[in-house]
Symmetry: C2
Subunit: 407 residues, 2 copies
Amino acid sequence: MKRLRSTISGQVFPFERIEEFAGNGESLEVAADGLAGARVRQGRRLWERFADFLPVVIDDEISLGEGSTPLLPAGKALSTFTGIARLLLKNETMNPTWSFKDRGSLTSIAMARQMGEPVTATISTGNMGHSMAAYGARAGIRAVVFVPRYAPAEKIRAMAIHGATVVRVTAPDYSMMKREILGLASGLNLRVVSGNGPIRAEGYKLAAFEMYEQLEGHVPDFIAVPTSACGHIRGLFKGYRELMEAGLTGRLPRMIVVQAANVNPLVSAIREGRDRIVPVTGKETVAEAITSGDPPGGAEILLKARHFGWLAEDVTEEEILDAQRRLAGAGYFVEPAAATSLAAVGKLRAAGKIRQDDSVVLMLTGSGLKDMSVFARQGVEVVESDLRSIRGDVEKILASSPPGGVY
Amino acid sequence: MKRLRSTISGQVFPFERIEEFAGNGESLEVAADGLAGARVRQGRRLWERFADFLPVVIDDEISLGEGSTPLLPAGKALSTFTGIARLLLKNETMNPTWSFKDRGSLTSIAMARQMGEPVTATISTGNMGHSMAAYGARAGIRAVVFVPRYAPAEKIRAMAIHGATVVRVTAPDYSMMKREILGLASGLNLRVVSGNGPIRAEGYKLAAFEMYEQLEGHVPDFIAVPTSACGHIRGLFKGYRELMEAGLTGRLPRMIVVQAANVNPLVSAIREGRDRIVPVTGKETVAEAITSGDPPGGAEILLKARHFGWLAEDVTEEEILDAQRRLAGAGYFVEPAAATSLAAVGKLRAAGKIRQDDSVVLMLTGSGLKDMSVFARQGVEVVESDLRSIRGDVEKILASSPPGGVY
């Protein structure tokens, strides 16, 4: 029998409980009971092979073919830059809406279908809203996305074209808007899916299972995750815990919590050994996908970081833009939030917290196309030419080395 | 021994010939000799399993994990719209640079490595330049991309961040620029990769092999391909021909050549039974990825269309934007060029050229994020709300049906 369990107090709730947090702000997770007999089954789809580990039924009618994303060696330049020989990139930008969010939307929508919900809602300015809009469209479940007044028109368009109902809310600030919506939603029996919800984490878990297959059972030493609402990092870790509980692996990876230095409530708390978040307000970062200053799953992450020896690192704006260029210079064009991990593991290696021969996975969370405005801050060199000068220009290019060396 | 062969005259050329066209403008292809003994091998990667069919050596050092893209039923709404029950979507937007071009860039870069070329060049304003820049970065081969003066700054940035050398050429028109570059390149021993090149087609072939696996040997009745330079459609078809020559399948799919009505040199020639292209000049379309008015591989396509009974259809600007909305309404946000196929197969079905129970694959060639400017032409409905009115607004939404029905 499926149940939800508080990740802090261990208190148990019914699976159908639609609110996503215990009354005291503790994040819930699906209790992984009875995994002793779980095994990997035959099947073309990841969710078929790992059905024993999933609390919801998934099929092709609601899937957009998320996952099957590559896990590849980062290449010489990035290994040299970070000082990590076994650096691997998990390219989650190759998902249906080009971010990791799709894995969580799959299980969210599966749950909505299972509960018979005709409408599902979320509060988002970006990747999550877009992803839920697409999965709602696929499953024929109406998606309602609440966005703040200042949400960029392009993000709104990307949700609206999928047929989502976009509600633009004028409010003094984001957290007041959120509190108001969550308050009225429970009265209206409307489930508002959060980035840290227990059902979303079940989707992120699937990326762990996929990596387990791709590395043929090997568990990486570290997995670095750009972290905001916490759903992604806790889902990945839950996946590895369940693999171990099922007897499929013998150890756990150590997670690396990565944030922008400008908005680093988790990293600063872990670094200072605190067991509570001090919310960060009024700060911005180019890594706009990870700007939650008061992450809902924070308490759980602090607890786990201490218990399991996770690492944490934050990175400056300059380090983020530099890392975005370096990843592109190795073939991967990612949004700034996704680039934070590269900078972070380089710093942790330099500090001796990661060894040269540790295997380290970076989760590339979202496509560079998602944020062309920040991208405009990257310098561009162009050779200007015309039909008269082009032969000379090309000869000069062929005789020169590419600018910059590494990138 | 590998050879190139003219697709028109059958004349044979050495494999190492770096020019991509026979002197008389005939497009070349890699001769598929000795496929009788070819078979599907074991391996995690598609290019390992189909190595018998590939003229170049591929490995993880140059791959960005392209392919493994989903092939899924389009769903009820799109089947109803087109009148085609077995409508399948091949989502090539889930590639490393979010378009089908990556498969061709993989083999292009493999060839460059095999030839020991330190530099590879292309002429492009969009997806192809971006893809070649990324693959050049991955393989450590310098990419030079020639773009016309009017190329959008964002497209140039997406190439430049990968470290490509972007040469912006002022010239009276695109074809003069192209002629000049191709002329000087052969003298400088610089290979300029074209969208219709024989080595690129070997990459697109891999999508056919992937679909062969995904459909467990079933060959679809039709495959609809938005067509510009012709490399994609001929590569896919070549893949299916080789599967048949190797005895793995018993028949060929019929290809559907899809173009925008505004720039339709191929479709108009096929429709009128001509064996020559009449170039289209001075016309534009929202489907900017398929604007070649004088496609280099045109003669081959006309010949094959007649010989193999291919279909052809063109679609208006309004039909393209409508199809983009409908695909998004089913979960797939694609660029306008990719949406043309949906509109086209609906028209062909209405004309009785496709039957209700034929299996039809639409190639979704590129991500909707690739072209947010056209996207701005799609209307957006937003519900404006504030903290005072939000409860009433949400109640109204929950009581109403989603606008538009199908999408």
